[in-house]
Symmetry: C2
Subunit: 353 residues, 2 copies
C-alpha cells in the first residue's frame, strides 16, 4: 500500500456489516494518518416507508433496518451502487451473504484499483462447488487478483455494536497487511489478534455451525452436560482434523484463537443453529419445516454446511473418519435416531496426530 491515505469500502450493510462499518469508522478517525476518514458502505437499496435506505443512513447515520438504535458515525457513507462504492478504494471489506459473493466480485473486477488494493473477507462458511469446498478469501483473490485476508471470531454483531468487550481473529498472508487491518479493526472493546492461518480460520467459521446442530440435538434430547460437552469437544477435534486433512497447513494454534474455541463455545451456547436443531428434535417435524417456521424461510448456515460436508466426505469415502459430522447429518436428513449423536461416538473415535 502506498504512503497516501487509505480509502476503505465496506461491501455489505446487514447487521454484521453495519456493526463492522461502525468499528472501521471509529478507527479511520483515530488513525487519521493512515486512513481517509470517510468509510464508504455499499447498501443494497431498499425502500423503508417510502424512503431509500441509503438516504436514511446518510441523514440519520443509522441503519434503521438492520442495526436500529445505533449511530454508525458521521463518516459512514451509504452508496447504493456497488461499483461506485469501490472506486479508488484501497481496502475492501467483504461482509455479504455468501450467495452474492461471486456476482458482486465479478462486477467489481474492472473497477477496483490495479494497485494498492487489498481485501478482507468476513463472509461466513465455505463455498461448495463441484463437490469441493472452497475458501472464500481465496476465491476473492482469484477473481480480483488482489490479496484477501479474513476475519472471524466469537462476535455477536449487536454486542460489537453496543461496544461490549469481545475478541476477534484476523488471518492474512502478508504481515504488512496485518498491521493495516489491525489498525482498521482493533478497538478497546473489539480485541484483534492477527494470525497467518487464513484457511484454518475459515474452516472453523464454517464447521462450528454443524457442531452447534449437534449441541442442539443434545438439548432437544435433554441430555446432560457430560454428553453435550463431549459432543462439542469431538466437534473441535473433527474441525481440526478436517482442516488438516483437506486444507493443508492448518495450525493447531488457530483453534485456541477467538475464531476457534471461543466462537465454537458461543455458537453452541446460544445461536440459532443450536436452537433450531433442538426444536427439530422436540417436534419430530422435518428440518425444512422447522426452518420455515422459525427462520421465515431463510436457511440455517449449519444445515447447509452439514449437507455440503457430508456429500464432500461421502464422495471421498471418508464419512467414517468424521463420525460426529456424519451422525449429525444423518439425524437431520436421513431419519437416523437422534440418540445416535452419542451412540456413534461410543464406537467411533477420531484422533489427530
Amino acid at each position: 500500500m502506498s504512503a497516501s491515505k487509505l480509502k476503505v469500502t465496506v461491501i455489505g450493510s446487514g447487521n454484521w456489516g453495519s456493526s463492522i462499518a461502525r468499528v472501521c469508522a471509529q478507527n479511520t478517525i483515530k488513525h487519521s494518518d493512515v486512513f481517509e476518514q470517510e468509510v464508504r458502505m455499499w447498501v443494497f437499496e431498499e425502500e423503508i416507508d417510502g424512503k431509500k435506505l441509503t438516504e436514511i443512513i446518510n441523514e440519520k447515520h443509522e441503519n434503521v433496518k438492520y442495526l436500529p438504535g445505533i449511530n454508525l458515525g458521521d463518516n459512514v457513507v451509504a452508496i447504493p451502487d456497488v461499483r461506485e462504492s469501490v472506486k479508488g478504494a484501497n481496502i475492501l471489506v467483504f461482509v455479504l451473504p455468501h450467495q452474492f459473493v461471486y456476482k458482486v466480485c465479478e462486477s467489481l473486477r474492472d473497477v477496483i484499483p490495479k494497485e494498492n488494493c487489498t481485501a478482507i473477507s468476513l463472509i461466513k462458511g465455505l463455498d461448495y462447488k463441484n463437490n469441493n469446498l472452497l475458501i472464500f478469501s481465496e476465491e476473492i483473490e482469484k477473481i480480483l487478483g488482489i490479496h484477501c485476508a479474513a476475519l472471524s471470531g466469537a462476535n455477536i454483531a449487536s454486542e460489537v455494536a453496543e461496544e461490549q468487550f469481545g475478541e476477534t481473529t484476523i488471518a492474512c498472508r502478508d504481515p504488512k497487511d496485518g498491521e493495516t487491518f489491525f489498525k482498521l479493526f482493533h478497538t478497546d472493546y473489539f480485541d484483534v489478534n492477527v494470525i497467518g492461518d487464513w484457511r484454518g480460520l475459515q474452516v472453523c467459521g464454517a464447521l462450528k455451525n454443524i457442531v452447534a446442530l449437534g449441541a442442539g440435538i443434545c438439548d432437544g434430547l435433554k441430555y446432560g452436560n457430560n454428553t453435550k460437552s463431549a459432543v462439542i469437544r469431538r466437534g473441535l477435534v473433527e474441525m481440526r482434523k478436517f482442516g488438516k486433512t483437506f486444507f493443508g497447513d492448518v495450525h493447531t494454534e488457530t483453534f485456541f484463537e477467538s475464531c476457534g474455541v471461543a466462537d465454537l463455545i458461543t455458537t453452541c451456547a446460544g445461536g440459532r443453529n443450536r436452537k433450531v436443531a433442538a426444536a427439530f428434535i422436540k417436534s419430530g417435524k422435518p428440518i425444512e419445516e422447522i426452518e420455515k417456521e422459525m427462520l421465515n424461510g431463510q436457511k440455517l448456515q449449519g444445515t447447509t454446511t452439514s449437507q455440503e460436508v457430508y456429500h464432500f466426505l461421502s464422495s471421498r469415502n471418508m464419512t467414517q473418519d468424521f463420525p460426529l459430522m456424519t451422525a449429525i447429518y444423518r439425524v437431520m436428513y436421513e431419519n437416523a435416531s437422534p440418540e445416535s449423536i452419542a451412540l456413534d461416538l461410543r464406537t467411533h473415535h477420531v484422533k489427530v496426530e
Copy 2:
C-alpha cells in the same frame, strides 16, 4: 502387575467416589479374566438414622447419603477401616477430598503390597505447600512408592451414575498401566481416552475452576456472549501457559481432551464456582459470606485455587503474565472493580509460543 487377578480398592465414597466405584464394579465383572469381582470401597463411617453407613451400603448396595437412588452393584463392598480396605489390593483408586490425601496415604504406607500395586488419583486440584503447587498423583507416588496415574474429565458424577454418555481422560506414565485402567474404567457410556501427560491433566482440573469464577463474574455483570467466551478462551490460553511455564512438558494435545476444553466448557456453563461468583457480583457481599450462604460453610474449589495461584504467581513476580487469573483474584479478594475482568484483558495479552 502379575498374572493373578487384580484386586481393586476405591478410597473414598462421596458422590464421585460412589459413582466411580459403580463403574469399576461393572468392569471387574465384565473383565473377570483380569480383575477380582469384588470392589472394596473405603467409607468414612457415619450413622444414618442410627445405622452405620457401611452396613446400609452392604445390605442395600446403595450409598443412601451421597448417591441415593443408584444401585452400586452387589460386588461393591463398603469397609470402614481404610487400612483394612487396601490389604492385598493391586489397584488403589483415590477419590478423596484433597485435605485428607496426605493423612490417608501416610496411614496406608505400611499396609499396601510392596509389589504389583499401582494407584490412580481422581483428586481435584493441586496441592499448595510452601508456596509451591504440587501434583497430587506425584505426591501419592512419593509417599507410597508406587506409580500413580490420574483421571479427570467433563464428568458430573450423577450423570455418570445415570449412565448418560460422557468422556473422560486417564493419564499415566506406563502404557501397561494405561491398558489396565482402560479396562477398569471404560464403559459404553463412560468413554476413556488414555494419554501420557499426567501433569497437564491435573493442571487443567485445578485451573478450570478459576476460569469458571471469571465466567460467573461475567454472568453477574450480565455481560454478553462475546465477553464471556473471550474470558473462557483467555482462561484456556492461560491454563496452557501456566502448565508449560511451571510444569515442564505439558502437551498442547491435553487441552483438546475431555480433561481440557470439555471440562472447562462444562464448568463454565454450569457448576457452582460459576454460580457462586455470579451471586457474589450481584450481591456485593464478601465472597466468604456468599460461600457460607450458598455452600453451607464449604469452600469453593475455585476460590481456594484462585488464592493459591495468585500467591504462587505474585511471589514469582509473574502476575502480569497471567492477567485473567490475576484479575479474577483481585475482583474476588481485593475489591477490584468487577469490570476489570474485561478491562484488564484489553490491555494485557498472553501468548504461548
